[in-house]
Symmetry: C2
């Protein structure tokens, strides 16, 4: 049987667009004599529509569009992901389903059993888990049709450091009893920089364990915080990857199931260096945010520092230098080299820049507040006014020129609250909010891999917010190498304070760092959406209480 793997870039809830992509792919696959084409999980509506799933008309539209797509399936079968209605009188109203379509209509529906409800996943909020297992038969081939997490039954519990498995059931243990010939898995599995390796391992283990070929189709592209890398593949029953679709790109490839075991395996290409993967993910995330929202132009503030330098370089690469326009907003504390570095960067990239010194505006704030603040010493208030004047100028640029403001905070800053709400925390979305400062430096080096774009000086000078004379980040924070290592243990690895100290980190530094993370939850509550590139990003996937003591 010839099977087409359709790795496409859907827009959430944009039914006409998604239908167009799907029908085009069906026609292409048919022209190439495929017997079956496989689309990813929830392909009709894109993953994840969140609470749109609670709207009646949304579900009706999913049904109508599937019906319309089905009319194009003659001479070819298709598997399309969609939410479908649970017709039982009890249980959640929807299933997360794979619709098997042939001869112009839906012939069979298979539902997802294991519903990820952790980190950024909320599937049990909407879906009833499947508890009926049945092989799908098509042209004499017996297909074990599964949906994403259904193959991750051995997934360990990701917290409370426990031994144990997250799920009680194993859909494949049920399906294997019915002697399938092949496993098909449709997925919506977002990127994180170490996910590709884990994913390949899980899929290969399934192929080997059940001694079956496995077809895996994932979606691609950025949907707000989540960036899908695709990484669709076919694996033979020996566990060898014999067809591999590119990451972060739409693609359709056709495999012949009869030839899977005789095809030369494709070696794994993971680099030890995860920076190029993060780079590609961020470019995808930026690009899709703009194209899917119908935006074209962007803006940000260039400080001469490393964070804004990396963001503007990524923005220029993703959107074109002609679509990025920046402001330099020096204050009386800005060093000459900061301004020079920013100008040099703008020139290297060929982007338009303007300079608006903030001191006159800051002065007018301070003058207006003289009476109210009479007799009080300068403190963080005045530092924040500077940051908020910049934030307001950037929003004025955004409003006037209808360009989208990038937030330039990094994950280390976001973690310890080293940023000003309604100031440098402004922005439609955050590019580096899931990238630690030490990785921002590595990204800068990577961006410069073919020649200097980001001025060397921006990379090597000590980081500073330049909100008071001779300020350095290291005045208030541990060195970033140490800080990031502690943050990684706490945030990604969910280690406790005592465990991190036991690992050998300085007790006072660990206590201070964790306390900063905890007391700044209120700032992160109001953060823009953050492009997720790690296994635990701030935002939707990390839900912490505000009014609490920890």
């Amino acid at each position: 049987m010839k099977i087409a793997l359709a790795q496409l870039n859907y827009i959430v809830s944009h039914f006409d667009y998604n239908k167009g992509l799907i029908i085009d792919a069906i026609n292409k696959a048919k022209a190439n004599k495929a017997d079956l084409i496989v689309f990813s999980e929830m392909s009709v509506c894109g993953y994840m529509p969140h609470d749109l799933l609670e709207q009646h008309d949304f579900i009706v539209r999913c049904q109508n569009y599937i019906t319309e797509i089905a009319q194009h399936c003659n001479g070819i079968a298709a598997i399309v992901g969609a939410p479908t209605i649970n017709k039982s009188a009890k249980g959640k109203k929807l299933f997360n389903s794979a619709c098997f379509i042939s001869n112009g209509k839906i012939q069979e529906i298979r539902n997802k059993t294991l519903l990820p409800t952790y980190d950024i996943f909320d599937e049990y909020r909407y879906f009833e888990p499947n508890d009926k297992f049945e092989i799908l038969e098509y042209n004499g081939t017996r297909i074990a049709l599964t949906i994403c997490e259904d193959l991750w039954d051995k997934q360990p519990i990701a917290y409370v450091q426990a031994k144990g498995q997250l799920y009680k059931n194993s859909p494949m243990e049920q399906l294997i009893k019915q002697k399938p010939d092949i496993i098909i898995n449709i997925a919506a599995s977002p990127f994180s920089y170490n996910q590709g390796k884990v994913r390949r391992q899980v899929l290969r283990e399934n192929a080997i364990k059940y001694n079956l070929p496995l077809i895996y189709v994932n979606q691609v592209g950025g949907n707000t915080e989540l960036i899908f890398d695709g990484d669709s593949k076919a694996i033979n029953s020996k566990g060898e990857v014999v067809c591999q679709l590119p990451v972060f790109e739409s693609d359709i490839q056709i495999i012949d199931t009869a030839k899977l075991n005789s095809t030369t395996p494709i070696p794994a290409v993971d680099e030890d260096n995860y920076i190029p993967r993060i780079h590609k993910a961020l470019i995808t995330g930026i690009k899709d945010y703009f194209t899917k929202m119908g935006f074209k132009t962007a803006t940000l503030g260039l400080s001469g520092g490393i964070d804004s330098a990396v963001v503007v370089a990524l923005a220029a690469e993703a959107l074109g230098a002609e679509n990025v326009r920046v402001l330099l907003m020096p204050s009386k504390y800005s060093s000459d080299h900061s301004v020079n570095d920013a100008v040099e960067l703008a020139q290297n990239l060929g982007i338009k820049y303007d300079t608006v010194p903030i001191q006159p505006i800051v002065d007018s704030f301070e003058l207006s507040l003289t009476k109210v603040f009479e007799g009080m010493e300068p403190d963080v208030t005045e530092e924040n006014i500077q940051a908020r004047v910049r934030g307001t100028l950037m929003m004025a640029m955004s409003n006037k020129y209808r360009n989208i403001l990038f937030n330039t905070s990094n994950k280390s800053e976001a973690a310890v609250g080293y940023s000003t709400m309604y100031g440098d925390m402004n922005g439609a979305f955050s590019v580096l909010g899931d990238v630690y400062k030490t990785d921002v430096f590595k990204l800068a080096r990577y961006i410069n891999r073919n020649g200097e774009i980001i001025p060397e000086n921006s990379i090597i000078k000590p980081p500073s917010a330049e909100l008071r004379p001779n300020q350095k980040d290291s005045d208030s924070l541990p060195d970033y190498d140490l800080l990031d290592a502690i943050l990684f243990q706490y945030i990604e690895q969910k280690m406790s304070e005592s465990e991190i100290i036991e690992m050998g980190y300085n007790e006072a530094v660990v206590r201070k760092t964790l306390r900063l993370v905890n007391i700044n939850e209120y700032k992160r509550f109001q953060t823009p959406p953050i492009l997720r590139v790690s296994s635990k990003a701030f935002g939707f996937g990390r839900r912490m209480p505000l009014v609490a003591k920890y």
Copy 2:
């Protein structure tokens, strides 16, 4: 048997504080000869700790504190809510449990079966559902011990307008087979203005259906967005409420199970007018935000309009007039009456106020941007600069005086995006973000019930943002009566566009309103936490995609 109902106000993750409350209550109950004292769901740690539940040391602390509490249970038994570890090798690592303590230690644990995972609830994110049902026997009384949602098995599916029940199982149908003498339900059930009536009905139905007395214990107090009203009660087997704890107040009451059927029933006291309930909830939400975070003083901007007037009146009532300090920030578009109304209000409340005209600062922004905006017409940019200057001034007040900034946006504005990000959307938390504008007017009247606090003029004048000459809200928005009615159908009732039009609302107005709601999701993403008083508030309980087309 004498049972004490302990309705207490816990602080999330503040173990020492919660332990203190619990042990005090045990001692009081013991002094009053109670045989058993019942605390609410997750009482040891407060509801809801969210992802703190994923931290190993958090769970260890829950265990340790329960052990310590248990040592105080001699001569009295206690039921305490806590997360406990699922010792099985498979499934989520935790249970949401009720610990039965007597003779100084935990004797039995019962786990929650029905795990709410909708709206603001995420319980399946953390907990494995219970599937073993066993009566608890104490002093010859057979107790059906259930946790909150366990009695809500008949709950209808709340969306996709479907007939049907959300849950497949019924814990009481299992437990009733074991012939219990009484039902005890420990809960963490947040307030919404129509919840009390529904809750009483569900509990009475259970008592009547199983012909058993029912003890219900809920927590009380505000935890960030969620406000718990307590409303604990005892119901006899005829379904009569025979003991009723006050709403929004900590309290302990003791009932004698032998006398339940002979006690005079307490009549229901729901007023048709829900405004006093919302008023009480908001006062609780404000008060607990401050006391639980250790804050004392607050600030906000007074515009002379109705929203800030209502917020400052609530703030003064909750925190004391001496702890509230406001700024008046008139612009060249501010009418004299706005300033006068604001001054009058501040004087009525006896709060300190200062006036900082914004025009000089606005001018300095516009002057600084002259070159960058050369040749471009004034537009919303300049309106937003005014709002952001005010937002920055308010944050300066907050920073300098360490007082907490109240956000004053209402639900209607938040819905249609009639507000400026990083301007009037600033604030630590939003008091009125779940109160429609038409209800804000009603709240103002209610606040004035014993004499004018809010100037009549602030209530009767047409609402205006005063960001350009003669601006009125009605220039851009439908009348609030109509707007709010449509918003209610869309947000709370989850009606679709076509269904709302079919109800008789003007098609163009419905389309415009729903479009405004949908395209402003990005603004609400960065909103401060909103005190929840309805069944569907913006924020945590309403999760919509940003990059999407709807």
